[in-house]
């Protein structure tokens, strides 16, 4: 087997289809987008040609764009933080449940994944709209009508709703790997349940929390449907202005530049976070 391997490159051949697919469907559009972002754009004719850094300069120096970038990362960070705060205890409680209930609640947690994001966004907008049940209840209680839609808070709540399973699943997986006796050991030394969770369980599931937050942050920062449908015209996020540049202004190079910047910023934030958190547990957990 090992003797035959060098002559017959099985691993290469086996991974070739996936590699080709990846190159064709992900790398090619990315490269084309990057190239496009350096093209000049003629407003009169809509033609793109030549080479320029104008689009990047425009985005990086315009406070309008900077504000949108800041808002996007603020919303993504908050959504991630809330997902950690809700998702980690949720996963812990799930992992401690007895058998019929555990399966039922795991299904409840994962069920949102079965419904399209767009449908869920419309659900939220019906719920929170001026004539929606929330406002009807507020009116009935005498608080008066409130404008709930098209605010940052609404976008964050909806993002948390969409992203929660992506936090629960990796944390739940790492909880499955824990030896329950380790937590019992902490209890046997007189630790309260809270102390045992904080000092003994949490550090061990840090890798799960880390990967969960990376997924949630990345997806939230580049989310389109939720901010597009719940943020409306007023509350722009990066993904929605990319869409606007492409489809309203027809300024494809500008849209491409914004998209490339979003990708780069996202990468930088995630890599930094990964380094910082991973540095804490690498030596301990190997």
């Amino acid at each position: 087997m090992s003797a035959a391997a060098p002559r017959f490159p099985t691993p290469l051949i086996l991974s070739a289809p996936a590699a080709l697919l990846f190159a064709a469907l992900i790398l090619t559009p990315l490269v084309l987008t990057a190239l496009l972002s350096f093209n000049e754009f003629e407003h009169a004719t809509g033609r793109t040609h030549g080479f320029t850094l104008d689009h990047y300069l425009a985005v990086l120096t315009d406070s309008y764009y900077l504000e949108i970038f800041l808002r996007t990362f603020r919303v993504a960070a908050l959504a991630t933080a809330i997902c950690v705060v809700i998702g980690v205890p949720e996963a812990y409680i799930l992992s401690r449940m007895g058998n019929p209930w555990r399966s039922v609640f795991l299904l409840v947690v994962l069920a949102p994944l079965l419904v399209s994001v767009v449908v869920r966004a419309f659900g939220w907008s019906m719920l929170l709209g001026p004539e929606g049940p929330i406002n009807a209840a507020l009116m009935a209680l005498g608080f008066g009508r409130m404008r709930l839609l098209y605010s940052e808070g609404t976008v964050i709540v909806a993002l948390v709703h969409v992203m929660l399973p992506f936090m629960v699943i990796p944390v739940w997986t790492s909880l499955q790997k824990l030896d329950p006796a380790v937590e019992q050991a902490a209890l046997s030394f007189g630790a309260s349940r809270g102390t045992a969770i904080l000092r003994v369980v949490a550090p061990q599931i840090l890798p799960g929390i880390l990967s969960g937050s990376l997924i949630v942050f990345g997806l939230s920062a580049s989310a389109f449907a939720i901010p597009g449908l719940l943020g409306g015209r007023r509350l722009k996020m990066v993904a929605t202005i990319v869409y606007d540049q492409y489809l309203s202004d027809l300024n494809w190079p500008m849209g491409a530049a914004v998209a490339v910047l979003l990708l780069a910023a996202n990468l930088i934030v995630m890599l930094t976070y990964h380094r910082v958190v991973e540095g804490h547990y690498r030596r301990r957990l190997g």
Binding site: V182, S188, G190, V200
Partner: protein, 363 residues
Amino acid sequence: MSFLELRDITKRYGTLNAVSDVTLSVEKGEFVSLLGPSGCGKTTTLQMIAGFVEATSGSIRLDGRDITHAKANSRGLGIVFQSYALFPHMTVFDNVSFGLEMQRVPKAERKDRVDEALGLVHLSPYAGRYPRELSGGQRQRVALARAIVIRPPVLLLDEPLSNLDAKLREAMQFELRDIQRKVGTTTVMVTHDQAEAFSISDRVVVMEAGRITQIDQPYRIYEHPETEFISRFVGKTNLLPGTVQAINGLAASVSLAGIPVEIDAGGLVSGETVTLCVRPEKLRLIAAGQGRLPGRVAERYFLGSQWLYHIDGPLGTLMAVTPNDGSAPLETGVPVGVDWNPSVVRVHRGRLAEAPDPTLEAQ
């Protein structure tokens, strides 16, 4: 009233009775071992004392307090888990220090006590390592240090020395015994190593299939096993099936495959089926033609301080152990006579289900 009392403790998993009606009293400062084959309910019993497994019925009292339903973190016991259960994200030092931290021991004292405990288990140079950087035996010693450092009133040890080499194991046994003498810690240790149970326990509890079959001092368990299971499980033994031929006052004559043997009558009746148990070291190998049985050396094994012989004879293969006094051992094939003192024979009433395989008994 005893310090630690289990009364009619039962644990049922579905239809399986993992532990049935266990009643056990442990005095303050006593060292008790639970001994029994794999799966007989030792860990389950210990976990019920620790509070991690809820007893299906029965009650547990510690120092006069009913702890049957008390939370595990309110019991204040020092526990060594069978799987060690070290904190994988903490160094050896932090692992050992954790219990002291929970007791709010001041930092300086904490360091001294952790260092002392690590010295006791010969792990001082490893204080800065993480558990995954240690060998199995080293991890086990960290678990031991972690339990003894908090000086608990009761130590629960689940096979605490199973992964150590013979020398280290002996050293740790003496340490355990020493700690227990000095501090007066009440200790309950689970083990399936009978030598370990015998050498350091005040009393040994033999368990079989979830039940206690005998609680006694090590010497008495060995010399006066109450059931045939114990005489087979504890130490090696020769089991000789026979029939009572006649009762003459205090003595009974038993026929072993036609060979008459005299034993104490002790309530036997004529015609009854019995099994005689004789420990291998109680058999004497003497010149051929003398003694109670004729035999021939079939195999011999060198055990260091002793020789173990398998002797073929009219009753099948017998095991005999003689001390190694430095002289040459018997050669295989030579004929010998087998003799024993009548007082060393233990009698179990009834017949064996099947003849035991001596190679299995040697475990």
